[in-house]
């Protein structure tokens, strides 16, 4: 058993490359989907009924789809419509589009929880439209939603594991390739799970730090 972990250490480059891919895919998609989610949330809360309803349908339908099926559709389905990207790009796009909907829903919930007086004061001071959203609504909404956003980032890290099935060389893919080559599934997958855990604990710590700063601000 111990030699198996020795082999993992010996072949750690493969695993670390997968870990790096997981990290970058998760970080990039978290950042971009947060921004896109903010814009979608603004559309959801817009006074224009058509806009808010249409966005609502989009966001709700994205939340009905399992991520793996969505990733498959982006990878194998889009080429039929002329859009053919490599697996990394497909994975990133899938993660971003998918999680933008969830981020939008989170931010909308936080927005609803904001005190009405603050929003009215913002309007009274002449903030409308994009400026209103960007400077009055988003900062407190995002800070209020920090724990939920942290959970969503953890969900992104876990969803990235599905991308192994569309050939993205992330952590689970690296672990699978490793165990197929050296015949040591236990050491391989246990190592992968521990690395995922480290990533997620890191996110939780970060969320705790940012949350503490948010409290200070308030």
């Amino acid at each position: 058993m111990i030699e198996q972990f020795g082999i993992v250490w010996h072949a750690r480059d493969l695993l670390l490359e997968g870990l790096l891919n997981t990290f970058w895919l998760s970080a990039l998609s978290a950042a971009v989907s947060l921004v896109a989610g903010a814009m979608l949330a603004a559309a959801l809360m817009a006074r224009n009924q058509l806009l808010s309803r249409a966005t609502g349908v989009l966001v709700d339908s994205m939340r009905c789809v399992p991520f793996l099926l969505f990733a498959y559709m982006v990878y194998y389905g889009l080429p039929s419509l002329g859009l053919r990207w490599d697996s990394w790009t497909c994975g990133l796009v899938a993660l971003i589009v998918y999680n933008s909907a969830y981020m939008a829903e989170l931010l909308r919930g936080a927005w609803r929880g904001l005190p009405a007086e603050m929003l009215e004061a913002g309007h009274a001071f002449g903030f409308h439209g994009a400026g209103f959203v960007r400077r009055i609504v988003l900062p407190p909404a995002i800070f209020a939603a920090i724990p939920m956003l942290g959970n969503q980032v953890i969900q992104i890290i876990k969803d990235s594991a599905f991308l192994t099935i569309i050939t993205v060389n992330e952590l689970t893919h690296a672990a699978t390739v490793l165990q197929a080559k050296y015949f040591m599934p236990f050491a391989s997958f246990v190592s992968a799970l521990l690395l995922y855990w480290v990533l997620c604990v890191g996110v939780e710590r970060l969320v705790g730090l940012v949350g503490a700063r948010a409290e200070l601000r308030r």
Binding site: Y76, K181, F183, F186
Partner: protein, 284 residues
């Protein structure tokens, strides 16, 4: 006692029993894992073998039923064996390691004999020839010979011997001043070929038998290239050291060669028969 409370109690009790039954059923699917020798198999009454779920024409699922060359050969064994043979159909990357960890007694699948695998597995008598070729898109004129593959993207199955054989292709390319392009690893070959048709990869390597079938099934989409690795054979495998089971399976396979059944099945599924396969084949 009111009927609402009674009904609720009844539902809760029923749910509790259902959950308990479910848990027992799930736990009942757990058994001790160790590669069984022939005697142990005979004593417990069944052997567990693993086949791949989508590797035409050797083993695949059609209309819900497992079929293919290996599956039919296994069917003959089923009729002759004194014990039950349970067939598990799983994705490729876990199959051979599963034999090594004792999850399966034998891999009844199209496994290419390679030096690396010989460290963990004992291969049975070969069941087919297995020279690895490459296939490209039929309308791709940029690839006419092996040296044109330099720098191009190749698709293979993760954990396959074709992936392990890529260094041989790399050596061939480097001899002519080229280099191996990037490698994309797929869960199974149908997905690799689908991507080749889409244009994400430039060529896919697989045994000539698989590729010939692919070209027949999808006329006009693909074209066969040249061999990219040294000749080897396809065989079933057992855990290294499981001599009793190895001899049992080899005995069966030798008998099927002698009575011509194996060659008939090869003609049916693989398109040709390989009468001059060696009885055993190890790479040194």
């Amino acid at each position: 006692m009111s009927t609402i409370v009674q009904t609720r109690r009844f539902i809760l009790r029923g749910a509790g029993i259902a959950v308990a039954a479910l848990a027992t059923g799930t736990l009942g699917g757990i058994r001790a894992a160790s590669a069984a020798t022939l005697d142990e198999i005979k004593k417990r009454g069944y052997m567990v073998v693993a086949t791949e779920d989508d590797y035409r024409p050797f083993e695949f699922v059609q209309d819900g039923k497992p079929t293919g060359y290996d599956t039919e050969l296994l069917g003959i064994l089923r009729k002759q064996a004194s014990f039950e043979i349970k067939q598990e159909i799983i994705p490729w990357t876990g199959l051979l390691p599963g034999v090594d960890t004792g999850k399966y007694d034998a891999a009844v699948t199209a496994a290419l004999i390679t030096k690396e695998r010989q460290q963990f597995l004992d291969f049975c008598s070969p069941v087919s020839d297995a020279t690895v070729y490459y296939v490209k898109r039929a309308n791709d004129d940029s690839i006419k010979s092996i040296k044109d593959l330099s720098g191009k993207t190749v698709g293979v199955q993760a954990g396959s011997a074709m992936l392990q054989a890529l260094p041989q292709l790399q050596a061939m390319l480097e001899k002519e001043g080229g280099k191996l392009g990037s490698v994309v690893q797929y869960v199974s070959y149908p997905e690799a070929c689908q991507d080749l048709a889409i244009g994400r990869t430039d060529y896919v390597t697989n045994t000539v038998i698989n590729l010939q079938l692919l070209i027949k099934e999808k006329p006009g989409v693909f074209a066969l290239g040249q061999p990219v690795a040294a000749k080897t054979y396809i065989a079933w495998a057992v855990k290294k050291g499981n001599t009793s089971l190895l001899e049992f399976l080899n005995g069966f396979l030798a008998a099927e060669r002698k009575n011509g059944e194996m060659y008939a099945l090869q003609k049916k599924w693989l398109g040709q028969s390989f009468e001059d396969m060696p009885e055993t084949w190890t790479i040194t």
